[in-house]
């Protein structure tokens, strides 16, 4: 079972890839840098479950916090506004 590699507060970058298949990492967040808000736990991989496989071993899932101004170049709002997205570990790299 894959170990949880990241800790809350750690800076991570979302892999900038556009693969085919069932993906739960939204298009808009790929390539963005954020910080780990928490480890949610480990869950079967939805990309594999979608293909009628069992998605095991469970993969670590994190809530990752991004500053809106760093996600959208034209973001108009507070500099402190954030966007929190659940992302599986295999989509994350140390930033």
């Amino acid at each position: 079972m894959p170990q949880a590699r990241f800790k809350p507060g750690e800076k991570v970058k979302v892999m900038q890839a556009y693969p085919l298949g069932h993906v739960r990492t939204p298009y808009y967040i790929r390539g963005c840098v954020g910080e780990i808000e928490r480890l949610c736990g480990s869950f079967p991989n939805p990309e594999e479950l979608a293909q009628m496989r069992d998605g095991l071993p469970p993969q670590p899932l994190y809530r990752v916090r991004f500053r809106q101004q760093e996600v959208w170049p034209d973001y108009r709002g507070s500099a402190s506004d954030v966007l929190e997205v659940e992302i599986f570990q295999h989509w994350l790299e140390k930033a």
Partner: protein
Amino acid sequence: MIPRSHHDMGGLPAGKVERTEHDHAEWERRVDALAVLMGARKVTVDERRKNIEALPPEDYERMSYYERWIVSLAQSLLQRGVVTTEELARKMIEVERRAAG
């Protein structure tokens, strides 16, 4: 649409949110129930989502929420071999005949 799937719409330009609500029809509630029951029998929400995402964009847009669900559930059951296309066809004809009274 490759590489960005039609359902993956976060951040795209869009219009004002229409605050529509509707009382769900019985058939829609039964679709919901079937999806939950089949989920307990290992037909995962992930498979159903994959099948919804595979709908042609025009169908995705014009179909209502539960219309997408029932189609994706049917596709999932076909993929798993729980039902066959022939079984669907024969049953659909039977149901239509019965409904026409």
